[in-house]
């Protein structure tokens, strides 16, 4: 801990962190200096001059020297013994003058009017402020920072009512938000948030002096300007210049902080609820440690489906082939009596990846104790191979370090992950670190947003990633570049592991992967020279047979270079479901119990479920809220097998293909109606709060299961609230400190785990089951990036909304093109199973057998915007590899 600096502000002696600015020091000590362009967490800027102060610093001879003029406190660093005055008469009049200049370009008739709190939009105005210029007609009214600041400064009515209206057209054609640059005070918070914090530069400060304003290059649409629609600019805007379009003028009655249900980052977001109990806005919480005020398009604009009234409102029972409404006791009695006939291995339960820890815990307790079956799994457990060896190799199946620890990382090794889309906020510290000089190695056949930031973007042959990493390990060991002390002393099994890598002869590795030996040696050197490396992998593009060996190789590489838990280093296995970590912790999987306890017999999991249903091994199936996973591959398979199941119970909020085939449907609560906990990818336990309360007759999944259990004769399922369930499950979280359910703050609470590091030998296991076939001999790798400067992105107006229309460029290998009789610039068609894409051929040197195309991220945003009352994940196209063939239309 560095020594604090002593200074005096307005006669009060305070202490502050060295290096902070005067305004920060004042705020940290509960003092307020008016400001508009300053924003915590962003670099000092000094645009608005609102925070001017008088300051003097001591000189060596004991006297005080005043700082010249009236410095802005947001750009003046503190020094020992400094004396600061913030509220002298001179400063107050100076500030009022500055504010008058600022509001001379903003409608201000109401801002400095004493009747502001009494007026309605249609009242007769004593000052003749036109309706359009009144604060009450501004979407930001009552949450406007500019207004608050003007009110605080007690501006007088002396300023004239006329102001310089810029007469700029409103920008309302892009998805999700409206911009009215006539209200902008050019503080550039939004530009800085986009550049410094999100590292996107999707908006900029155009022109200069009197005409300076926020916009994009030549006014292009945000769909092509590199915007990721995270809404960071909206969250920092102090006026009504940039606002969310939906529920634009609605006022919040209640604000509830809860956890976003879209990905395992677990963003804490404050939900604004209006007086008609609708979720109108989501504002990420700046104080939360997991997301630090960040969120993404899903957490900002993808929550509206909670307002969708097209819900399953009561329990439904299938009678004569039709689902009819039923009462709770009737449905519960029916299910309890039916399920009693299927106790044992013919019963299977699939829990939702959006279930709370409480849901998962009760689901596995119900399955194991009441139904006496181990056939339990959760709906997004399609990537389990990458978690199987974590417990044995690093002691616990979770990430080894925190999300914002990535800021300290010097080198990122990212294997087959689309982080900026799947775990958007995780990408923020990565992009920030890279913009400050960190390096990145991306191993991925697809072009993703992060591959544009990469120093090395390696595209090995499909499914040879593990061989490439093995080659890197071999090269490190050959050159004795490993962290020998760490590998031999802190980890077990080093010698056995070392002898296993001799298979990875570099010439062979190079032949299999298509990556040159020099490049492999170069990568080995880069990785071993870095002081803090983080490894992130979700292995989206890798076949399930070799996922385990790939993740083993990655962890071995991390152990070999000593990058486990030090600042800036870590291993981050990535999954997709928001509470998958919780599902594993709670033992909601077929192969272990709560707290990773051993169970005698492994049950049937998601992977084998469709087969087990087809063969009749599973007769009763219980599916809990799987709306988002229906479109997934495993969801499709299970859907096809449902006809064979004798008894199907579904808990669901919206009708879908599963509910259509169900015998009984229970209405299930959505994220905004649940009370419970989520565990994010850094093992941080977050609270999920019932922001909306119950809308219809729905209930939380764990309560439904408890009622079933009680009806089936159990007496240990009597919980009156989720806190009691949490009390029962918390001992299974390997925690040394007790976690109090009521006291989990928005920063959450990380539970600690015991580390045990152990190498696992690797081998060259070639994946012989190629994903291509005779019908579809090529493999399509699809990328998606925010902005493509040189491509022909054309924006067209469709129904008054901007829409991307462009010819996709399809890259293919020159030799493959020759074989298919295709020339540069030809229109070609790519055809796969349930997939079709037309585009223009571009021949280059990509690996043979691969065709590649890169979309703009805006195209996904358009789709999500079009279906905004539905779960955005239903319309989110994952970038899987697709086997295809090429056709040339006549």
């Amino acid at each position: 801990m560095t020594e604090k600096i002593n200074l005096t502000i307005d006669g009060k002696e305070i202490q502050a962190q060295p290096g902070s600015m005067i305004i920060q020091a004042a705020m940290d000590n509960g003092m307020y200096i008016p400001y508009l362009c300053y924003y915590p967490g962003m670099k000092p800027y000094g645009a608005c001059r609102m925070c001017v102060v008088k300051a003097e610093a001591p000189t060596p001879d004991g006297s005080y020297r005043s700082l010249p003029g009236s410095p802005a406190s947001c750009t003046t660093p503190i020094s020992e013994g400094m004396r600061v005055e913030t509220n002298t008469d001179e400063l107050i009049s100076l500030r009022k003058g500055i504010m008058e200049l600022l509001i001379s370009e903003h409608p201000h008739g109401c801002l400095n009017c004493h009747r502001i709190d009494l007026c309605g939009p249609t009242d007769v105005c004593l000052r003749h402020v036109t309706v359009n210029d009144r604060c009450v007609t501004c979407p930001k009214n009552e949450r406007c920072e500019l207004k608050d600041t003007v009110r605080y400064m007690e501006m007088e009515l002396t300023t004239p009512l006329t102001y310089n209206n810029r007469h700029l057209p409103l920008e309302v054609k892009d998805p999700f938000w409206d911009m009215d640059m006539n209200l902008c005070i050019v503080c550039s918070r939004c530009v800085r948030a986009c550049d410094e914090v999100r590292v996107d530069q999707a908006i900029t400060l155009k022109e200069r002096s009197g005409r300076s304003i926020i916009g994009t290059s030549k006014g292009i649409s945000l769909l092509e300007s590199g915007c990721e629609f995270c809404g960071a600019c909206i969250d920092v805007c102090p006026t009504g210049a940039i606002v969310e379009r939906d529920y634009k003028w609605d006022k919040a009655e209640v604000k509830t902080t809860t956890t976003c249900p879209h990905c395992p980052v677990g963003c804490q977001t404050s939900l604004d609820i209006n007086k008609r109990n609708k979720l109108i806005r989501s504002i990420p919480v700046r104080e939360a440690e997991a997301n630090q005020g960040m969120t993404c398009f899903k957490g900002k604009f993808g929550l509206d489906y909670a307002n969708n009234r097209n819900r399953i409102k009561t329990p439904l029972i299938k009678k004569n082939g039709e689902l009819v409404e039923a009462s709770w006791p009737e449905a519960l009695d029916l299910v309890a009596s039916k399920l009693s006939q299927f106790k044992g291995n013919s019963y299977s339960l699939i829990s939702s990846d959006r279930g709370t820890n409480e849901d998962h815990f009760i689901a596995q307790k119900f399955t194991r104790q009441i139904m006496q079956s181990n056939n339990i799994d959760f709906s997004s457990n399609t990537n389990s191979e990458i978690f199987d060896n974590l417990s044995s190799m690093i002691g616990h199946s979770s990430a080894t370090n925190t999300i914002w620890n990535l800021l300290k990382t010097d080198l990122f090794v990212i294997v087959s992950s689309n982080i900026t889309e799947q775990h958007n906020v995780l990408g923020v510290p990565i992009k920030q670190a890279i913009s400050k000089g960190s390096k990145a190695i991306i191993i991925d056949p697809r072009e993703t947003e992060l591959s544009r930031f990469a120093d090395h973007w390696i595209k090995p042959n499909i499914n040879t990633e593990h061989i490439l990493i093995g080659g890197i390990i071999r090269s490190i060991i050959d050159q004795s570049l490993e962290n020998h002390d760490f590998a031999s002393k802190s980890c077990e099994n080093f010698d056995e592991f070392r002898s296993s890598v001799w298979d990875f002869d570099l010439s062979r590795v190079s032949k299999e992967t298509g990556v040159s030996q020099e490049e492999i040696q170069d990568l080995a050197k880069t990785i071993s020279e870095s002081t803090a490396t983080s490894f992130l992998y979700s292995l989206d593009t890798i076949s399930s047979e070799i996922k385990e060996s790939t993740s083993t190789a990655i962890i071995d590489l991390a152990l070999l270079t000593g990058n486990v838990e030090n600042p800036g280093s870590g291993i981050y296995p990535l999954f997709t479901g928001p509470n998958e970590q919780g599902a594993r912790d709670m033992g909601c999987v077929p192969n272990f119990g709560p707290g990773y306890s051993h169970i005698s017999e492994t049950g049937i999991g998601l992977g084998e479920l469709d087969n087990a249903c087809q063969t009749g091994d599973i007769k009763a199936l219980h599916i809990i809220g799987n709306q988002a996973s229906i479109s997934s591959e495993s969801g499709q398979k299970i859907k096809n097998a449902l006809d064979k199941v004798e008894f199907l119970v579904v808990h669901e909020s919206f009708e879908n293909e599963f509910t259509a085939k169900a015998d009984v449907v229970f209405p299930s609560s959505l994220f905004a109606e649940k009370d419970g906990t989520f565990t994010n990818l850094e093992r941080r336990i977050h609270k999920v709060n019932p922001a909306l309360g119950n809308k219809f007759d729905e209930d939380e999944d764990w309560r439904i299961l408890c009622q079933l259990a009680t009806r089936m004769g159990a007496n240990n399922f009597n919980y009156s609230n989720s806190e009691e369930v949490f009390k029962e499950l918390s001992p299974f979280l390997l925690s040394t400190n007790d976690i109090n359910f009521q006291k989990i703050s928005q920063s959450g609470q990380i539970y600690s785990v015991k580390r045990k590091l152990k190498f696992k030998p690797i081998n060259i296991s070639l994946n012989l089951n190629s994903i291509s076939s005779d019908e579809f001999p090529m493999i399509l790798t699809r990328g998606r990036i925010l902005e493509e400067s040189k491509s022909d992105a054309k924006i067209q107006l469709i129904n008054d909304k901007n829409s991307i229309t462009r010819n996709e460029i399809i890259e293919l290998n020159s030799q493959d093109a020759l074989n298919n009789n295709i020339l540069e610039g030809d229109s070609i068609k790519i055809i796969g199973d349930n997939f079709e894409l037309s585009g223009i051929a571009h021949l280059n040197g990509i690996n043979s057998g691969i065709v590649s195309t890169t979309q703009l991220f805006g195209s996904i945003i358009e789709k999500v915007q079009e279906h905004k009352t539905e779960d955005p994940m239903l319309h989110f196209d994952q970038l899987n590899l697709i086997p295809v063939r090429i056709e040339k239309p006549e």
């Binding site: 550049d195 996107d200 530069q201 999707a202 908006i203 900029t204 400060l205 155009k206 022109e207 200069r208 994009t216 290059s217 030549k218 292009i220 300007s225 590199g226 902005e787 400067s789 040189k790 022909d792």
Partner: protein, 163 residues
Amino acid sequence: MPADNETLRKQIIEAIASQHRPTVTVLSSLLAIQDAIGYIPNEAIEEVAVQQDTTVNAVFGVASFYPNFRFTPPNNHSIEVCWGPTCHLEGSSNILQAVLDYLDLKEEGDTQDGEFSFRFNTCLGACSQAPVISLNHELFGKISPDESIKLIKEIKSSEPKHI
């Protein structure tokens, strides 16, 4: 893509590459492009963004800051009239008015017929020759309004000079 677009991109890339200076920046690249083709087309913003590893928005932010960069192709001939202090004292305001009247313009800008791009200049650096005008970047000193108009009429019939 049309062929002339390709040529334009080639010219731009050449202009960016032709900078022989220790540090190449967004600004220096934009200047090099404007010197080479007379204005900053969309393609130039894109190429500079790619070359400088930044976004089109950041490049446009820089380009739009400086009024000297123009985003539309210039007319055939450029006319600049100095209105610096020395030229002003030597009567440049009369020249300015005469030229504006001749070109039928109210302020700086391009003529409708596509012949002239007219700008004020704060100093052409030849104060000893004041008043000075520049026609297609050639300086004419100690000049009168009538002589200016005569010279402008002359260059109108000469070969277009785009830059």
